[in-house]
Symmetry: C2
């Protein structure tokens, strides 16, 4: 029987030297297994690998495998996807989410990532590495301003978590506007905004929050009015009756019901 | 019979040289009457007065009266409150909201401001001048981060609009976190976040939105869980089932029902 894997989506800039709550959670879930560090989101991967290697070494695990894809052809077969063959986990570092999806979308690397989940392993990602987990992802869109219709750029994600769109560096970069703009386009998707040094740990269709910040679940299911489709691109968004949940460490959330559970429910 | 006055709360940084939608609205509502410019929020008022004098002159009205209160005693009686005696409107420029409330709260100036409303006049304010309109106001609180319990500083406002708390420079400074933290303390108050170059025009218990950005109505009436009262001050906020309305130009809102109206309802 296939065990249920775990996804850990991190909002970026997780603590690497202090409490390290989130990285500890990754290590704990690996249960001694081997982890591959995927730096494919980055254009200059070397620095990320060393920083994470040191951070994970301080938590007692040796990360010696860096998965970097220079050209998409490397992701199709051979040595690179082979790195993931018996791994207990993979960690996607930050950078450009389009680098991840354009290089590994629909390749052997992506299949190997899904296999890690189906054998009960861990798929973690920070910043861009978190953004790609949804079926759709935000690629670009202004921070620190309200959404203008047509100002954001969406792309298909890896789809590891169904019916969600994940945004990161959330409070720090003032991104509520662009996430609202994204869910307005189709309220089927739940918007999940993750602060820095904060993560959601997804098991099946439940997640719980770890880390020092907040997670915003933005639910457009009950929206009664939106000007998304009928206005000029420079107009500000109008979107009535959004349901918003602010979640912090200990909170749990049911992705199918789109409902938070109180910490001790 | 007393006519119903109009409040115009502006999120700061309103356009003074281009379309000037918001300042035009102020001028239109004055209907040719005299307006006083209150620079009491500022510690160095001179610059504000000249900038607004020029902006309003370009719209055809001459603003010659600057209301600046150096010491609270000047607000108690005499020449300063007298400036407002037969004014059709007053415009509060930005600065420090505590300067406004500490200098004019419960003085003859405040009474004169209320009289302007009761005779059908206009009370407008931008940035700090908007923040003071609620019964409670946000004085300090971090931007660009999620709310930590205990991180914000509230104070009583002038109370010109009941049961609301107004925050400004809203998307630009990433202030959703602090406004959520404020309404979590007592969901009786509706949070209203106003973007720059954006305003609400309040008539009775209805408002409508003008300007280029968005207004966020944050309604905690239905909140099912909050950790506000029982957690340590450094913890991130948890707040389930907030109702959020994103409003833009043309949208109307009923402050008593806490409901948006579709643009053409």
């Amino acid at each position: 029987v296939s065990r249920q894997g775990i996804l850990i989506a991190i909002g970026g800039n997780e603590d690497k030297e202090g409490e390290r709550t989130i990285l500890k959670q990754v290590v704990e879930r690996l249960a001694g297994g081997r982890m591959v560090l995927a730096t494919v989101a980055s254009h200059q991967p070397e620095g990320y690998f060393d920083a994470y290697r040191r951070a994970f070494a301080s938590l007692g695990i040796d990360v010696s495998d860096e998965l970097y894809i220079g050209e998409r052809v490397e992701a199709l077969n051979g040595e690179k996807p082979g790195m993931l063959a018996d791994a207990a986990g993979v960690f996607f570092s930050g950078g450009d989410q389009l680098r991840i999806t354009s290089q590994v979308g629909n390749t052997a690397v992506e299949r190997r990532v899904r296999e890690i989940l189906s054998r009960g392993g861990v798929v973690a990602g920070t910043s861009a590495g978190a953004a790609v987990m949804g079926g759709t992802m935000l690629v670009k869109g202004p921070s620190h301003e309200s959404h203008r219709i047509g100002a954001i750029h969406l792309a298909p994600g890896l789809g590891l978590i169904r019916n969600v769109i994940i945004d990161q560096h959330f409070a720090e970069r003032g991104r509520i506007g662009r996430l609202l703009g994204a869910i307005a386009q189709n309220p089927r998707v739940l918007g999940i905004g993750i602060d820095e040094d904060t993560a959601i740990v997804v098991e099946g269709r439940m997640f719980h929050v770890i880390g020092s910040g907040a997670v915003y679940a933005v639910d457009g299911s009950g929206v009664t009015y939106s000007n998304t489709a009928d206005s000029a691109p420079e107009l500000a968004l109008s979107l009535h009756d959004v349901r918003l949940h602010v979640l912090s460490a200990g909170d749990r959330f049911d992705l199918d019901q789109k409902r938070p559970l109180r910490p001790r429910d």
